[in-house]
Amino acid sequence: MATIFLIRHGESEANVKEVLSDSLEGYPLTEKGKDEIRRISLQLKGIKFDKIISSPVLRARESADIISKVTGIRIEVDERLRESSMGVYNNKHYFELPEGGREAKGLESWDSISTRMVDFSRNQGGTIIAVSHQITIRVLLAHFLQLGELESYGLDISKGTLSVIDSASGKVSAIGSMRLSERLKSRMGGD
């Protein structure tokens, strides 16, 4: 059971080109994306994290590298944090996605993402940073808020933002934040 600081990767070439991608390589962070991650990393300096765990996808690994440089914490990679599988739409443009739900479009289902993310959250201990993706973070937050896919539509996880959950109590302490709140910072013993 752990306190997990979930960070969505910064802006990447995939976002700029408006391409959906679950590929491990091919879409690095843009300069803006690197700045987004530096900004949030500085907010986390001084907090005693046990480790950074990253999705294997390039834009997440690069984000984790920046966080590691700023905070001095070591990185591990975990498959369970990877981007949603995009099926036949992998490396295709957003506008090519048809209407309809995830499964109808051949994207990885909500339940599939939820299973691996919840499994990940149950396996951790201490206080960790997890670098992942928009849908994966939203799915995990929704799980702890007891909301489904349609019910969690109002949870926006922008690039470079922070969401915090305590996997033991199920408490959600931040949703897509740009700033680490003062009281969270105090609670975590930050500068």
């Binding site: 808020l145 909301l147 489904g148 896919e149 349609l150 019910e151 969690s152 539509y153 109002g154 949870l155 926006d156 996880i157 922008s158 933002t161 969401s163 915090v164 959600v172 302490s173 931040a174 949703i175 897509g176 934040s177 740009m178 700033r179 680490l180 709140s181 003062e182 009281r183 969270l184």
Partner: protein, 203 residues
Amino acid sequence: MKYAIFIRHGESESNVLTILASRNESYHLTNKGISQVKRTASQLHDLDIKSMYTSPVTRARDTGDIIAKELNLKPEVREEIRETDFGKSEGKLFPGKISELTDEERGDMGIESWSSHVNRMRSFFSGLRENSVIVSHGFLIKAFVSDLLQLNSDESYGLTIRFASITIVTIPDGKLLTIGSVVLSKELKEILGNKSGKHTGDF
């Protein structure tokens, strides 16, 4: 189980013009806003709603009128759920989001504080006794939801209440059933029950 359905008004002229408008104004819904609200209204069609309330602001009243027609209810106008008090910034251009400012920035602009929004909504919500639809504004609904989740302004940054979106809270517990949604799932509709008073699937 009783519930309160908070609907944000649809897109309006003041949103498109990025004008802060809460008093002495008549910015109506745009055509897009009307479509948004009609879609939301159809989601509520089969639900067993007893009361309707709306903010006095034009875009909320326009929204309320469309939903009222669908539900065959007459909306009661309530001051407590009026848009943010913009103070000296009323009528000014502001292309950003009020909810994303700090309380200090809001104070400098003469705009109502986060906690004031929370207090108004808590007070209004505590008076609800039956299944209700409440047409109000983005920042108000967001502040209320954040408070229910025990999150402050920084912590709830990613919480987004879109035009004509649906946020449902149980009465009196304040449990969130859906946040800023545009479509109600089949499962949720079963939990909410329908007009005949039956919960579908319940025997």
